[in-house]
C-alpha cells in the first residue's frame, strides 16, 4: 500500500457517507489488532461500526464474535477516550455476539480501578456480561458503587441493578438498604473530566433511580411503600424534579390500592401545585383526576376544582408540550364530568386555532364535551371551518366527538346531522374517514328517530357518487332496514334500483336484498307490484349471486302472504347472539359425528329483538365512554405489551367487557350441558357473575342466578386459593331469609367432589318455583371437608380423613331486576306515559354515597337501560335517572323514573315506575335498594 492510497482512504472515510460493511469490518480487524494501538483511529472506526449497526446492518455471529474479541483487546490501552467508546461498542455487540462474557474480568477491573470518567461506563456494561449464574459476583462492586459520593457512579450502579433485576432479584434485594440511603442522601461530588469545562452540576437524579429501584423491590409491601413515600414528603428530601414525579407515581399506585390514603396525601399534593417544575404539576393533576374518576367519593369537589384551576393556568403558557399535557388531562376529565371543565372554556376557545393540530383537536373535542345546549350549534359551525384543514386522523377524532354529542344532546340532531352530511359530501378524505362519518350517521339514525328521513335521503344522494364498496353495501343495508317504515318508501326504491343498473356485482347483490325488503311495506300493493317486476328483471342478471338472490327474494315474496316464516327471512325480526352462535357452530363443525346428518340446532342460541340489540349497543357505548377514558390515565407504563397488542388489533368492545361476555356465555353453556337441568326447559335469564367474597380471600366465590320458567338455579363458582389443601364435597348451604314463607322449594344440589388448589369449579343448587315473579334472599355458607395435600405428589395423604369446615360468604338476593332485560326505546317520555300500571316508592339513604354511586347501583340492580344520557350525574345535589327494560318472562315493558336529591341528611329517592305487568312494577319499585 503506497502512502498515497493510504492517505486517500483516510480522507474519504473521515466524513460523509459510510463505506460498505466489508471495508469497515476489514478496517476494524486490522486497526484493532495493530500494535501499538492507534487510539484515535480506533475510536473513529468504532463509531463507524456503530453507525453501521444503527442503520440496521448486522453481522453474522462468527464475525460479530471476532469483532468483539478484537475490541476487547483494546482494553489493554489506557486511553479513556478510546475506552469510553469501547464500552458503547460492547453494549451494541452484546446483542449479536454470544461471547461477551470474556470481557468480564477487564470490566470488573475498570469498575474498581478505572478513572472517574470510565467507572460509570464500566459499571453499566455489567448489564450485558452478567447472567443468572454470575450476577452474584458483582454484588460487592455494585453495593459499594451505590454508596459512592459521585452521582454518575451511584446512578450507574442503581440502573444496572434495575436492569439485572429480572435475572438476579435475590442479589439486588441485598442492596435495599443502600438504595434506600441513596434516596435520602443527595450526591453532589461530580467526577470531573479534565478535558471538558462545561458548567456541569449534580441534578440529584440519582434519587430518581434509587426510588425507581426501591419501588420494584418493595412493590408488594404496601406499608413499606407508604413509609418510603412519607419520608420523601419534606421539601428538602427530594431535590430532583423527576424523582418527585416518580414519587407521585408511587403514591398513585398506593391510592389505587387503598383509596383511604388519598386524604393523607392531599396536603403534599397541594404543595406540589406550586412547584416550579411543570412535570411535577402535570403528574399531580394526572393522579388526582384519574383517582377522582375511579373513586369520586374520596376527592372533595373543592380540591378537584383547584386541580382544574391549576390545569387552566397551564393553558396560557406558550410551550406546546405543557399545553398538550394539560389539555390531554382536561379532555379526559371532560368525557366523564364535563361540567367540571366548563370554567376553562375561554382558554379552550383561544386554542382552537393553535398551529399544533393535536392541541387544537384536543381543545375542540374538549369543548364539544363541555358544550351546553346553548353553544353547541355555534361550536359546530366553528368546526365546519376548521375540519377541512386537518389530516384524516384528527378528522376522525373530531367526528367521534361529534358522534357522542348526538347521544348526549339528541335534540340538537339537526345541526349535527347537517354537519355530518356537509363533510360527507364536501370534503376529501380516505376510507377510514368517510367510514367514521357513515358510522356516525347510522348511529344517529338508530338512536334519534326524528333524524331518520333527512339522513336517509342524504345518504341516497351520497351513494350516487361513492367510491367505496364497503360503504355502499352498509348504506344499502341501512336503506333496506329503515326505508320501508318511512313515509315515502318509493323514494328509496328508485335510488337502490339505480345501483343495480350502474354498479358492480357486490353492490348489485346488496341492492337486491335491500329492495326485497320493500316488498313487505304495509300492504302498499302498487309498490309491492313494482318491486316484484324489478326483481324479475334482475333475475336475468349476468352475475350468479345477483341472479340467485333475486330468485330467492321473489320466492319469499310470493309465499310471504300466507307464510310468516318467509316474511322473517326477508326482514328478520331477530338476530342471534353472535358469540354463542359462533361457539355452537364451531362445536358442531368439529364434532361431526354423523357427517352432518343431524341439522344444526339453533334453538338454544339466545335471540334478540331489534330493541334489545339497540339496548345492548347503547349500553356498550355508555360503558365504553366512561371506561375508555379512565383507562387512558390509569394504565401506567407497566401495562404488559402483549395486552397492548391485543387492544390495538381488537377494535370492538374493550377487552374486559368482551371477557365478561364470554364468561357469561361459558357459564350458560356449562349449565345447559348438565343432564339434571335439561328438564327445566329453556333458560329465561341469567344474571351477571357477582363476587361474593373479598378478592384476596382464601376461597373466591362468584354467584350467578339462572332463571327458568318454573325453576331457579343458583350457581356458585368457587376457586381454592390455598396451596396444599384440597377441598372435598364442596357445596353451599343457602338458607332463605323468608324461612317458612319462602315459595321456593329446594330440589337438589350438585356439589364439587374435589377442589384442588388454584382450580375453579361450579356448584349448583336448584329450586322449584311457582310461575311468575318470586323474590327471595339467601344467606350462604360454604361447607366442605378440607384435606391436606402431599406437596410432592399433589395427592391427598392416605388415611387423612380431613375435617369439616364452614366459610361464610355474602348473601344472594333474587330481586325483581333478575326478571328484567334492558331494552331501548327511542322516546322515553312517550313510552312512560303510555304504560298503564304505576307504582311510586320513596327511599331515604343514610350512607355517604355520591349520586353517581347510587345511579350506578340502580342501573346494576334493576338490569334496565339508562336512557337520555341519565347514567351520568352532572349535578352533585340532584339527579333524575330514566330506566327502561322488558320482562324476561313475557316481554312486557317497564319504565322507571328515579328522582334523587342529596342533602346533608343523606339521599332522598323517589321512584315512579310504570309497566304493563303490575306485579313486576310493584316488585321492582318497592325492592329497589
Amino acid at each position: 500500500m503506497s502512502a498515497q492510497t493510504y492517505k486517500k482512504k483516510h480522507e474519504t472515510t473521515i466524513s460523509g457517507e459510510l463505506p460498505d460493511k466489508m471495508t469497515i469490518y476489514q478496517d476494524c480487524m486490522t486497526t484493532f489488532n495493530e500494535s501499538p494501538v492507534n487510539a484515535k483511529r480506533c475510536r473513529i472506526l468504532i463509531s463507524r461500526l456503530l453507525r453501521l449497526l444503527a442503520n440496521g446492518e448486522t453481522f453474522p455471529e462468527n464475525e460479530a464474535t471476532t469483532l468483539f474479541f478484537s475490541i476487547s483487546k483494546l482494553f489493554q490501552h489506557k486511553n479513556d477516550s478510546l475506552r469510553q467508546s469501547v464500552y458503547v461498542a460492547i453494549k451494541e455487540l452484546s446483542k449479536i455476539s454470544e461471547d461477551v462474557l470474556m470481557a468480564t474480568s477487564s470490566i470488573m477491573k475498570d469498575v474498581q480501578t478505572g478513572s472517574p470518567l470510565i467507572v460509570p461506563n464500566a459499571i453499566r456494561s455489567l448489564t450485558y456480561v452478567l447472567d443468572e449464574s454470575t450476577a452474584f459476583s458483582a454484588e460487592r462492586l455494585l453495593r459499594s458503587a451505590i454508596v459512592s459520593r459521585d452521582p454518575a457512579v451511584s446512578s450507574a450502579a442503581l440502573i444496572t441493578s434495575y436492569n439485572l433485576l429480572p435475572i438476579s432479584e435475590a442479589t439486588v434485594k441485598r442492596f435495599a438498604n443502600e438504595t434506600h440511603e441513596a434516596i435520602k442522601d443527595p450526591k453532589e461530588v461530580l467526577g470531573d473530566n479534565p478535558e471538558r469545562d462545561y458548567p456541569a452540576r449534580s441534578t440529584f437524579i440519582t434519587q430518581y433511580h434509587a426510588l425507581g429501584l426501591l419501588y420494584e423491590l418493595k412493590k408488594n409491601d404496601k406499608l413499606a411503600l407508604l413509609k418510603i413515600a412519607q419520608e420523601c414528603f419534606p421539601n428538602w428530601v427530594l431535590k430532583s424534579s423527576i424523582a418527585k414525579v416518580e414519587l407521585i407515581k408511587v403514591m398513585t399506585d398506593l391510592v389505587f390500592r387503598d383509596p383511604s390514603l388519598f386524604e393523607s396525601f392531599q396536603n403534599q399534593l397541594e404543595q406540589w401545585f406550586a412547584s416550579r417544575h411543570e412535570s411535577v404539576q402535570i403528574e399531580c393533576a394526572k393522579m388526582i383526576t384519574s383517582f377522582a374518576m375511579a373513586h369520586p367519593s374520596y376527592v372533595s369537589s373543592e380540591f378537584f376544582a383547584s386541580t382544574i384551576t391549576l390545569l387552566q393556568s397551564m393553558l396560557t403558557v406558550p410551550r406546546p408540550p405543557t399545553l398538550f399535557a394539560a389539555l390531554r388531562i382536561l379532555n379526559k376529565v371532560s368525557m366523564v364530568s364535563p361540567e367540571k371543565v366548563v370554567i376553562c372554556n375561554p382558554e379552550l376557545e383561544s386554542l382552537i386555532n393553535h398551529s399544533n393540530r393535536n392541541i387544537s383537536t384536543y381543545a375542540i373535542t374538549t369543548l364539544l364535551k363541555t358544550g351546553t345546549d346553548k353553544n353547541i350549534s355555534n361550536l359546530i359551525s366553528t368546526i365546519t371551518k376548521f375540519i377541512h384543514e386537518v389530516s384524516d386522523d384528527f378528522k376522525i377524532i373530531i367526528i367521534n366527538a361529534v358522534r357522542t354529542l348526538s347521544l348526549n344532546f339528541p335534540h340538537e340532531w339537526k345541526s349535527i346531522l347537517d354537519f355530518l352530511i356537509d363533510i360527507l359530501k364536501n370534503s376529501e378524505g380516505g376510507f377510514d374517514y368517510k367510514n367514521s362519518i357513515v358510522e356516525a350517521l347510522i348511529e344517529i339514525v338508530s338512536f334519534v328517530p326524528q333524524s331518520k328521513e333527512p339522513a336517509l335521503e342524504n345518504l341516497c344522494d351520497f351513494i350516487e357518487d361513492c367510491e367505496y364498496n364497503e360503504l355502499l353495501v352498509r348504506i344499502l343495508h341501512l336503506l333496506g332496514k329503515e326505508g320501508p317504515s318511512t313515509s315515502q318508501p318509493s323514494l328509496y326504491v328508485r335510488h337502490i334500483y339505480n345501483r343495480v343498473v350502474l354498479e358492480n356485482s357486490i353492490i348489485r347483490s346488496a341492492a337486491v336484498v335491500a329492495l326485497s325488503k320493500f316488498a313487505l311495506t304495509k300492504n302498499d300493493s302498487a309498490l309491492n307490484e313494482s318491486i316484484i317486476s324489478l326483481l324479475r328483471r334482475i333475475a336475468n342478471d349476468k352475475d350468479d349471486e345477483v341472479r340467485d338472490r333475486a330468485t330467492i327474494a321473489l320466492k319469499f315474496i310470493e309465499s310471504s302472504k300466507e307464510n310468516i316464516k318467509a316474511q322473517d327471512l326477508i326482514q328478520s325480526k331477530y338476530s342471534y347472539d353472535l358469540s354463542s352462535l359462533e361457539k355452537k357452530l364451531t362445536t358442531y363443525m368439529s364434532s361431526n359425528e354423523d357427517s352432518f346428518k343431524t341439522p344444526f340446532d339453533a334453538s338454544a342460541i339466545p335471540k334478540y329483538t331489534e330493541d334489545e340489540v339497540k339496548a345492548m349497543e347503547l349500553k356498550r357505548k355508555q360503558e365504553q365512554l366512561t371506561n375508555a377514558d379512565l383507562e387512558g390515565i390509569n394504565n401506567e407504563d407497566e401495562e404488559p405489551i402483549t395486552k397492548r397488542l391485543d387492544t390495538n388489533t381488537y377494535k370492538g368492545a374493550t377487552l374486559d367487557e368482551h371477557e365478561q361476555d364470554l364468561l357469561s356465555t361459558q357459564y350458560i353453556e356449562e349449565l345447559l350441558s348438565i343432564e339434571e337441568f335439561k328438564v327445566f326447559g329453556n333458560l329465561i335469564n341469567s344474571s351477571k357473575p357477582i363476587s361474593l367474597t373479598e378478592s384476596e380471600a382464601e376461597f373466591e366465590v362468584r354467584g350467578v342466578k339462572h332463571l327458568f320458567k318454573e325453576h331457579v338455579v343458583l350457581q356458585f363458582n368457587i376457586a381454592n386459593t390455598l396451596p396444599d389443601v384440597a377441598l372435598d364435597n364442596v357445596s353451599v348451604a343457602c338458607i332463605s331469609q323468608l324461612e317458612d314463607e319462602s315459595q321456593l322449594e329446594e330440589l337438589f344440589t350438585i356439589p364439587i367432589e374435589r377442589l384442588l388448589p388454584s382450580v375453579e369449579s361450579p356448584c349448583y343448587i336448584a329450586y322449584k318455583k311457582p310461575e311468575g315473579i318470586v323474590l327471595d334472599e339467601f344467606v350462604n355458607t360454604l361447607t366442605f371437608t378440607s384435606r391436606e395435600l402431599n406437596p410432592d405428589t399433589n395427592e391427598v395423604y392416605e388415611g387423612d380423613e380431613g375435617f369439616q369446615d364452614e366459610y361464610e360468604i355474602d348473601s344472594s338476593v333474587l330481586s325483581a331486576g333478575d326478571y328484567i332485560k334492558s331494552s331501548f326505546v327511542s322516546s322515553f317520555d312517550t313510552a312512560f306515559d303510555e304504560l298503564s300500571n304505576s307504582e311510586v316508592a320513596v327511599y331515604n339513604l343514610q350512607e355517604d354515597l355520591s349520586l353517581q354511586d347510587v345511579t350506578n347501583r340502580l342501573i346494576t340492580s334493576t338490569s334496565c337501560l339508562p336512557l337520555e344520557n341519565s347514567q351520568n350525574v352532572s349535578d352533585s345535589s340532584e339527579h333524575t335517572l330514566k330506566l327502561f327494560g322488558k320482562s324476561a318472562l313475557n316481554g312486557s315493558k317497564i319504565a322507571l323514573i328515579v328522582r334523587m336529591v342529596k342533602s346533608s341528611k343523606g339521599i332522598a329517592l323517589k321512584a315512579s315506575g310504570k309497566a304493563e305487568d303490575a306485579t313486576l312494577c310493584s316488585s321492582l319499585v318497592n325492592g329497589l335498594l
Binding site: 493510504y6 456503530l50 433485576l165 470531573d192 399535557a325 390495538n648
Partner: protein, 198 residues
C-alpha cells in the same frame, strides 16, 4: 411506574434518512417473564411497532412525512408520544409511550439536544455533516443520557461533561514492520506539523 420511560431516540436528516436510531427495551426482559419461565430465552419487549428493522424504518419514514415540515414539538403518532426539534438540516426525536409524562420526555429531548449543541459548538454547530463526522461524540452523549430506556441525566452540561473528546494521542513508537514508506510518511507529517507550529 417503571423506570423504562423512553422507547426510542432518533436523528433523521432532511430527507428522513436515519443518522442515528436507537430503540430501547429492558435488557433482561421483565420480572414476570423470568418468573413464569415459559421460554428460557427472554422474549423481546420491544414495542410491536418496532420489532424489525423494516418496521422501524417504515415508522421513521411515516414520522418524517408527517412532521418533516411541521414545527409542533409534540404529537401523538401511532399510539406513541413524540417529542421533536428541528435544527438546521436534522431532526431529533424522543419517543415515549402514549401515557408518558410529556414534560419529562421534553426535558430529556432538550437535555440531549443542548448537550449535542455544546459539543458541536467548536465544530461550527449541529448539522448533518458534523453529526456524521463527530459521530463518536454523538453516540456518547446519547449513551450518557439514556441507558436502555432509563433516563440517566437530562441536564445538558452534566451530560456533555461526561463525553470524552476524541484523543489527540498518536502512537509514538515506530513499528519497523510497517516498512520504510510508512515510516517516511510518518516522519514527513511530523516534520510538517513542526513547521506549521513554528
Amino acid at each position: 411506574m417503571s423506570l423504562y420511560t423512553v422507547e426510542a431516540v432518533l436523528i433523521l436528516d432532511s430527507e428522513g434518512k436515519r443518522l442515528y436510531a436507537k430503540y430501547y427495551e429492558p435488557p433482561h426482559g421483565s420480572l414476570e417473564q423470568q418468573q413464569t419461565k415459559t421460554d428460557s430465552k427472554a422474549i423481546s419487549l420491544l414495542h410491536p411497532h418496532f420489532k424489525t428493522v423494516k418496521k422501524q424504518e417504515e415508522f421513521e419514514s411515516k414520522l418524517h412525512a408527517k412532521l418533516g415540515k411541521q414545527d409542533d414539538e409534540i404529537i401523538i403518532f401511532n399510539d406513541h408520544l413524540i417529542l421533536y426539534q428541528h435544527t438546521s438540516d436534522i431532526t431529533l426525536y424522543v419517543i415515549g409511550p402514549i401515557n408518558g409524562n410529556e414534560i419529562i420526555l421534553d426535558d430529556t429531548l432538550t437535555g440531549i439536544k443542548s448537550s449535542i449543541d455544546m459539543i458541536m459548538g467548536p465544530y461550527g454547530g449541529v448539522d448533518k455533516r458534523n453529526i456524521q463526522e463527530h459521530y463518536d461524540e454523538v453516540l456518547l452523549a446519547i449513551d450518557e443520557s439514556i441507558d436502555n430506556g432509563i433516563i440517566m441525566e437530562n441536564f445538558a452540561a452534566t451530560i456533555a461533561a461526561r463525553v470524552s473528546k476524541p484523543t489527540d494521542e498518536e502512537p509514538v513508537t515506530l513499528d519497523l514492520d510497517k516498512g520504510l514508506m510508512s515510516a517516511w510518511g510518518f516522519a514527513k507529517s511530523k516534520l510538517q506539523e513542526m513547521q506549521q507550529n513554528f
